[in-house]
């Protein structure tokens, strides 16, 4: 796994576009989950993700430990998210509308495939507290992130992730909207 990543990083650093694409495809899900966990809109999300990739491009020759690459990307994205959140408290964003509609279309197209059960689950998720939503949103990243990556994306200690995850999922199960979904065959209520 890490030998493969080491090879990809080295090849991308030498300008190999296929190797770079493989890195982008592997970690895009983590970056998307990170910006969504920080509740950024489409335009801000795109900005954060692109800045993060540009930062990696300039650092390719310096990556010493490819196993930590996901954590590094998540930290970089998180810092950019925090900066934007701070900035948006002072500024009115005016150019986001058009792109937002563009995104909404895509979401609706895919949303057609969602069942009533999916929508109930998602709306129950959206009523959880901020901390729970952020953690669960990161854990939903495709592919499933390591705890080190989760910790980097949220600034949450690794030791807090397991217990918080358990508590948040338990809260989700208790949501009255989900009572009929039979989510929890494996555990007594």
């Amino acid at each position: 796994m890490s030998a493969e990543l080491t090879h990809l990083v080295r090849a991308a650093g030498a300008g190999d576009q296929d190797a770079w694409n493989a890195i982008v495809e592997r970690f895009s899900g983590l970056l998307w989950a990170t910006v969504r966990a920080h509740r950024l809109g489409p335009s801000d999300s795109a900005e954060v993700v692109q800045t993060t990739w540009l930062r990696l491009v300039e650092q390719l020759d310096r990556v010493r430990d490819p196993d930590r690459l996901g954590g590094w990307l998540a930290t970089t994205a998180r810092n950019e998210c925090l900066r934007l959140i701070r900035q948006s408290r002072r500024e009115v964003v005016t150019d986001d509308l058009e792109r937002f509609e563009d995104e909404t279309d895509t979401a609706l197209d895919r949303g057609v495939l969602a069942t009533e059960r999916d929508r109930l689950l998602w709306s129950a998720f959206a009523t959880l507290g901020e901390r729970c939503q952020a953690l669960l949103r990161i854990l939903m990243a495709d592919a499933a992130p390591s705890y080190q990556e989760v910790s980097a994306a949220l600034g949450m200690p690794v030791g807090a992730i397991g217990p918080t995850r358990q508590r948040c999922l338990e809260r989700l199960r208790r949501d009255p909207q989900l009572a009929d979904l039979n989510l929890d065959a494996g555990e007594a209520r």
Binding site: A46, L84, R110, L121, F125, L139, L169
Partner: protein, 160 residues
């Protein structure tokens, strides 16, 4: 992904797997994010030395949460082995004005690179430069002809 199948008996893992599937349907990653990511390799530098981000008031103040920077002004510093580049970013609607200082102070050419345009200005003998009307977005600087550095210097990308 393989972890999911390994822990498939665990109810928490099952619920998370289901949430991951629903997120892909109802909060999907835009394809253009991946496309932009792929394209960023074209910004790989072959001849320049990196001046890495040393400090950024917009990030550091958030962490410290003590000092309020002047509204609309952001102070950023980059450092390479030969050069320090101090940069003030002034926000005016969607446009930015950049006021910079090269240390050591010397005349040089400073190119502003965004993902859409490139503009070159001259830093004066005191190492001071000013660029107006820079669009908001990703940006980096490329400094050439500075006596302290034989090779060009490029800063980290920042979003302004």
């Amino acid at each position: 992904m393989t972890d999911d199948t390994l822990h498939s008996g665990d109810p928490d893992e099952l619920l998370l797997t289901e949430l991951r599937r629903v997120a892909a349907l109802l909060d999907p990653m835009p394809g253009r994010l991946v496309r932009a990511g792929r394209e960023s390799l074209t910004w790989r530098s072959v001849d320049a030395e990196l001046a890495a981000l040393l400090s950024d008031s917009a990030v550091d103040d958030e962490r410290a949460a003590l000092v309020r920077s002047t509204a609309g002004l952001r102070a950023v510093a980059f450092e390479s082995s030969a050069l320090t580049i101090e940069l003030d970013v002034l926000v005016d609607g969607p446009r930015r004005t950049l006021v910079g200082q090269l240390v050591p102070a010397a005349a040089a050419a400073v190119e502003v690179q965004t993902t859409e345009l490139r503009t070159t200005v001259a830093a004066d003998a005191q190492g001071v430069f000013r660029v107006e009307n820079v669009p908001a977005g990703q940006m980096r600087l490329r400094v050439t002809g500075h006596p302290a550095s034989d090779s060009p210097t490029e800063t980290s990308w920042i979003t302004i």
